[in-house]
C-alpha cells in the first residue's frame, strides 16, 4: 500500500468491504436465450440502404425535383422597367402616330381646343370607316388628304402622339409601315357609321335588284 492508499485507508477499506453483487442464478439461460432469439445486428450500410428506408427517401427526392421543375417553369421574372418596353395603352388606338393639322385648323383656336380635349376622337382617321378614298390617297405607302388638309405621320416617340404639327400638308405624310393595326379599336361612332354604310349598300343592292326585275 503506497502513501496515497494509506491516506485514504478508511475509504479503501470501506469500499473493499462492500458486499459483492452477484449475477442472477438464471443469467446463463437468459443470455443464451437472448443470443438465440436476437438476430445478428445489421451493419450501418445495410441499415442505410435497406429498401424500407430507400423507397420513401427516393419518393421524397422525386417529389422535390418535380416541384422544383414545375415552380421554375411557372416562375415569372421580375420586371425590369429599364429593359422592358412600355406597355401599349389599349385606349390609344393610334399609338405611334403623329397627327398634323393644316395651318387653317391651327389658326382656329376652337378646333384646336377640341382636338386637345378629345384626343381619342382624333384617332378616327385611321379607322376604316373614317378613312375614305375620297378624302385620302395612298402615295408610296403614305397617306395624305387630297384636299391638302389633314395629314397623319408616324410619331417619333410616344410623347408626340397628340402633338399638332403646323407643317404644310405637302410635307406631312403617313407611313403605313409604322402603323400598328392591332391597336385599332372601333369606337361607338365608327360602328354606327359602318352600320350606316352597310345599310346603304344593302339599299343599293335592293334597288339594283328591283331595277333588274323591272327590266325583266
Amino acid at each position: 500500500m503506497n502513501d496515497d492508499e494509506l491516506k485514504y485507508k478508511d475509504i479503501i477499506d470501506s469500499l473493499r468491504q462492500l458486499k459483492k453483487i452477484n449475477a442472477l442464478t438464471n443469467f446463463e439461460s437468459n443470455l443464451m436465450r437472448k443470443i438465440n432469439t436476437t438476430q445478428k445486428q445489421k451493419s450501418l450500410w445495410e441499415i442505410i440502404f435497406s429498401p424500407v428506408r430507400l423507397i420513401p427517401s427516393a419518393a421524397l427526392v422525386a417529389t422535390a425535383m418535380i416541384l422544383i421543375f414545375v415552380m421554375k417553369n411557372n416562375s415569372t421574372k421580375p420586371e425590369d422597367p429599364f429593359s422592358t418596353e412600355p406597355r401599349m395603352r389599349e385606349d390609344l388606338p393610334v399609338n405611334g402616330l403623329r397627327i398634323t393639322f393644316p395651318e387653317e385648323l391651327v389658326d382656329m383656336p376652337d378646333k384646336k381646343e377640341e382636338v386637345d380635349k378629345k384626343p381619342l376622337t382624333e384617332t378616327k382617321p385611321l379607322q376604316e370607316s373614317d378613312v375614305s378614298l375620297n378624302e385620302f390617297e395612298m402615295v408610296d405607302s403614305q397617306f395624305s388628304s387630297k384636299e391638302g388638309g389633314l395629314t397623319i405621320t408616324p410619331a417619333v416617340d410616344e410623347t408626340d402622339v397628340f402633338s399638332v404639327s403646323t407643317e404644310k400638308a405637302e410635307s406631312s405624310i403617313i407611313s403605313k409601315s409604322n402603323l400598328n393595326f392591332r391597336q385599332i379599336e372601333s369606337t361607338d361612332s365608327s360602328r354606327e357609321e359602318v352600320m350606316k354604310l352597310k345599310e346603304n349598300v344593302n339599299k343599293i343592292l335592293k334597288t339594283g335588284k328591283k331595277a333588274i326585275r323591272k327590266s325583266d
Binding site: 496515497d4 473493499r16 436476437t38 445478428k40
Partner: protein, 195 residues
Amino acid sequence: MNDKPLNDKTDEELIQEFQSDNNIKAFEILVARYKNPLTNYVFRFLGNYEACADVVQETMIKVYRYKDSYSAIAKFSTWVYTIAGNLARTEYQRIRRRNIFSISDYGEEHENFDIPDNRYRPDVATDSGIKEKIIQDALLKISAAYREVVILRDIQELSYEEIAEIKKISIGTVKSRINRGRLQLQKLLKDIYKE
C-alpha cells in the same frame, strides 16, 4: 489446441478456442467466470440492479457476436471490462437523462434543477446495511470518470496497469483520478468516519 480441460484453460485460451472452433462451452466458461465480477462492477457504477443485469447481458452478447474483434495481444479481462464500461457509461447517461428533467419553463433564467434526493437521512443511518447504501450513494455522487477508476481499483482490485489499459489512459492519469475520486468520497462520507 492442447489437451487441457476447458475449465483449466486461461481466459485467453478459451476465447481463442471460441474464435477458432466456435466452441460454445468455452464461451459459457468465460461467462461463468466474469458474470459476477462484471455484475459487481456495473452495479457499483450504476446503482441499479436491473440496469446492471441488462448491461452485463449485453456485454456477454457483444463478446459472443464480436469474438473475432478480440486480439490476443490484450488480456481478455481488459477487453471485457472495456466493453462493460462503455455500455455502463451509456446506460448511466440514459438513466441520468431520464431522472433529471428540465423545469426551465418555470424558471426565470432557464435553469436546470435536479430533483432533491431525500433518500439519505443521517438520523436513520444506523446499521451496516444502511452504511453500505450510504457508501453506494456517495459513489454515485462523484463524477463518473473518477467513480469508474475507483471501483476498478478499490472494489474490483485491478492493477493500475490493467485500469490504464481498460480506460486507454496513462497510469499517471489513472492514479490521479483514483486519488481525486477517493478525496471526493472522503468528503461525502466524513459523517460516517467521525463516529
